[in-house]
Symmetry: D2
């Protein structure tokens, strides 16, 4: 049981979204935020940093959007599904673009391979939350 | 001249969005992030905190989304207009909903009035960036 | 193996801090950031919100400081031990004060109990990084 | 009158720190967070990016610490002076180190010159808050 799950299960109000999808997405957002900060930093230290500029920028953007998304989804006291939907859509897009770019460098840089995987996991979690919000 | 303007004017690459709209939105995002954190905090200290729960949550969400948006727009080295568009759409929505809620309390709480104004300013700045991105 | 561990093991530069202490602290910071955002939000929804104001504020502060600390520790390309030390000292203090307050409400509110545990875990992880930085 | 000033003047509780020092530091933290994100991004696009790695990392760290500090200082409902002191000490250190590094590149890169100035302004604002907290 993750800490996000523990926290949501002890929330005084009933969740307005499927708990499984919500917890998976919150966890993925915080994990992806860490991984993307790490990949941007590791890429800076590579000898071929000049071909990694897009990777670095997309990782930084993805990390910032993931933090905001993870927090918005965490706040269930006055949850606004339509706002959550737009934020998660932006997060899904940030994760997808970051994953695509990291995948281009994954065979040269192991940190890009790990980061791409984490972004794909978060992208999928965002899709699942969007499905849950639509029902 | 704001510091955001100074920084963008010294950027080694050409901007891909109208500079005026971009600078206004970046400034508005960081200002709104501060104001919404302040309004959430001031609302906590009000005797009628129980009717301000939605205001507090929307302010916290707006602050987090504004920080992410201000940073994504600031990063011009590998700017991706489509990603920026989705992030700004989420920010516009966060600002609009926060403004609507703060306006409901503006006649009782001066901090809600100021916060609503700041959110409306950021909402408009987001609209202007979306227009600039569409051209 | 956590993703923070995977990322640090693929970093092109040698770490300047004990890897075990570093990874544990990075993971604890991101986990604690989520948990404290969740506890602040859950506390807002409690009928006795007025006695939870200190808990809410300390949770919000702790969450923000944990995000900053988790990111500073993640960045190993140009790691500055003295800066890291000061940031981790602030994080340790934020976690300790938040834990103390949450513990006061832990018998009434399960989310405060979970949050206190997470803060204590992060506090300990900060102490271990400070010990590692001192050697 | 800045928006931070407007917000603090409408806060339902009495401030526990000198208002002038507090407002100046909050404003400086949010401005510095934007400027440092911008300098890190502009540096990425420079032909001599490889000698700017330390500048980029210190700017990113400074931006994250400034956001956390600006928010902790903004929250006055349950202000804890001792926690604020530690956070501001970390921020002062982040600003000073970032300024020192940016100053080394200020004659080549105008964005480093602007960023160094903003960091020095925030460093001074942190010192003034520390003095105010000590009285």
């Amino acid at each position: 049981m993750t800490h996000a799950q523990q926290m949501l299960e002890t929330h005084p109000r009933a969740l307005q979204v499927d708990a499984g999808a919500l917890i998976a997405c919150i966890d993925a957002c915080f994990d992806c935020a860490q991984t993307c900060t790490a990949c941007a930093d590791a890429s800076l230290a590579e000898p071929d940093v000049e071909i990694l500029l897009r990777c670095i920028t997309l990782c930084q953007n993805c990390s910032d959007v993931c933090i905001a998304t993870g927090r918005v989804l965490t706040r269930q006291t006055e949850f606004v599904p339509e706002l959550a939907r737009r934020v998660v859509e932006a997060c899904l897009d940030a994760c997808r673009r970051c994953a695509e770019e990291c995948e281009r460098h994954a065979h040269h840089h192991e940190h890009c391979r790990v980061s791409a995987e984490e972004c794909r996991r978060c992208e999928q979690a965002c899709e699942d939350v969007l499905s849950a919000l639509a029902t």
